[in-house]
Symmetry: C2
Subunit: 339 residues, 2 copies
């Protein structure tokens, strides 16, 4: 019980979970406090959740001062190498960078390939950067919530560039798109969209489409691919935020095109802030998250009711036997629960 007592003072070997202490540590930029807070937010224990929410709430006035960047692309496109090169340029320019990840599959395989510190060796050794692997386990919704909270904690700790990484094959892109300001998609030239497993919907989300591994500036496939993607992007309806998605090439290996990608992000931020879209989009994201969370929590609440399991199983067995139509059955169960 000690470890979840909010009044418990930290001592050697025991990690404090006192929200006030964690808050003070985070605001000082203390990495250990930040790590502990992230772990607290990832916990599924109800008592931990209460502490986590108290902490988040206390840090709210200190959040928001970053540019939140989503980055995706299929495995093999070179995301780690890109993030390493991109991150090093950023910290050399006095930025503080946090790298987070969303990988809903990491629960199954027990050990995410994303956010792995060994992939970004140099960056992980630099105190101006903070790398955190994907929270593991649970639904995409759960993983997304924890990543969303991680963004806020990192901002409170003074990181002004937040990268949220994901793999470009599933539904996690939509989750990331809904928690970042800017979304970039890494692709390869000459591989064909099919082979890259990139869905139209993901291309449509991108604010910057970056062709990585453009190591040879004379490679005709790069120009060809850039032309193709530009044409493809023109087919999509214009963004309501008036941003015209860019197509660029880079080589994370040769460290070319990296600064240019950052320039695009800065010009995006500038334009969006001037036009008032930046804050409006963040507000939209918060409200959408609020509504989604209500749905999840309401269901959780109802399912944890003492009479739920028995009533559910009784009616479920009638559905199984084909005696009750599924929708009618759901109606009956809900009527019973709220009677």
């Amino acid at each position: 019980m000690d470890s979840i007592n909010p009044n418990f003072r930290s001592r050697a070997g025991k990690r404090s979970l006192n929200p006030a202490e964690l808050k003070a540590g985070i605001l000082k930029g203390d990495r250990a406090s930040l790590s502990r807070a992230l772990t607290l937010c990832e916990s599924k224990l109800a008592q931990h959740r209460e502490l986590a929410e108290e902490l988040l709430q206390g840090l709210m006035p200190h959040t928001g001062n970053s540019i939140r960047i989503g980055i995706t692309g299929v495995p093999g496109v070179g995301k780690s190498t890109f993030i390493e090169a991109f991150g090093k340029e950023l910290i050399e320019a006095e930025h503080r960078l946090a790298v987070l990840a969303i990988d809903p599959s990491s629960g199954r395989s027990k050990g995410s390939i994303l956010g792995d510190k060994t992939r970004m060796h140099e960056l992980s050794q630099d105190t101006r950067a903070f790398i955190r692997p994907s929270p593991s386990g649970g639904s995409l919704g759960g993983v997304a919530r924890r990543t969303r909270e991680s963004i806020l904690l990192c901002e409170a700790a003074g990181y002004d560039v937040i990268l949220v990484e994901t793999v470009g094959v599933g539904q996690s892109e939509t989750a990331v798109k809904n928690m970042v300001d800017f979304f970039m998609l890494l692709m390869l030239a000459g591989a064909g969209d099919e082979l890259q497993g990139i869905k139209r919907g993901i291309m449509e989300m991108a604010d910057l489409l970056l062709i990585n591994k453009a190591d040879d500036p004379k490679d005709p496939r790069v120009k060809l691919a850039m032309g193709e993607y530009k044409r493809a992007l023109h087919l999509f309806p214009p963004n309501p935020n008036e941003w015209i998605p860019k197509v660029q090439a880079c080589s994370a290996l040769q460290k070319s095109g990296i600064a240019e990608a950052w320039e695009v992000i800065l010009s995006f931020e500038n334009q969006q802030k001037n036009k008032g879209y930046f804050e409006a989009e963040r507000q939209r994201q918060s409200l959408a998250w609020f509504e989604e969370s209500i749905g999840e929590l309401v269901l959780e609440q109802v399912r944890s009711g003492s009479n739920y399991q028995a009533a559910f199983q009784e009616i479920q067995s009638l559905v199984k036997e084909g005696k009750l139509e599924a929708g009618v059955a759901a109606h009956r169960l809900v009527e019973k629960l709220f009677a």
Copy 2:
């Protein structure tokens, strides 16, 4: 009020919504009763819903005796012409065919392009076929529920082949896949997957991939496309139901390849029934639908509570102003609602 009184007897100019009368009419195969029942199930009035559920429940023992076929493909692939040719062969072979549609966009555009009787002129004039446009308006979930109920009503009315049509560009495919036994995807040869807007995920769902408009049997593009799609399908993991998806060509215009497509469906049904997967999958679908409906109805119930709107708006405004973290806010609201 008369029109929703279950004891109200039908009279000229007034349509009976009495579940017992509708049930008797449907079991006789009366098309007018079926149409009226479908309209009843599409109604959003709470009293209509009660009658609809009573009717569905009464018809449950008479449902299930059909093969449910989903059909998709982008606009222009020739779905209507295919369904017309396919349907005519079926009714000539003494089958009774119902054509339903899911088109969540039909609410917006006020007038669905799907299920339009003028598109399937000959079929719509034949009493052995029954064509119903997509229910309009509302969420995909709502449209899907109503289509699911339509399947049951059509089965009770004696239709033994149910076609559920959708457009191959959105999320409605997943909804259809989860309410049918067999899923077929119409494609064109030589158009390229990109141009056809077909996502990998949709190809992965197909039990039969049918290349339509193969009007010239010597067209090399047809053979090429068939080979390509066969190779693509081999890359997907094997189906748990042991079915190996087929790739075939047809010409709805020349009426070639239509009987062969039906043969594939019959051999699928036969194999799946022998191996016990057929009923197992239907049960899985019902249970999944049951669970999904619970979630929707619980939220509906909570949202319609007398104290919901005020509590929601109070907390939402704190989220809007950035004073309350979205997840924390949702937690507070739910605690308040269930206090």
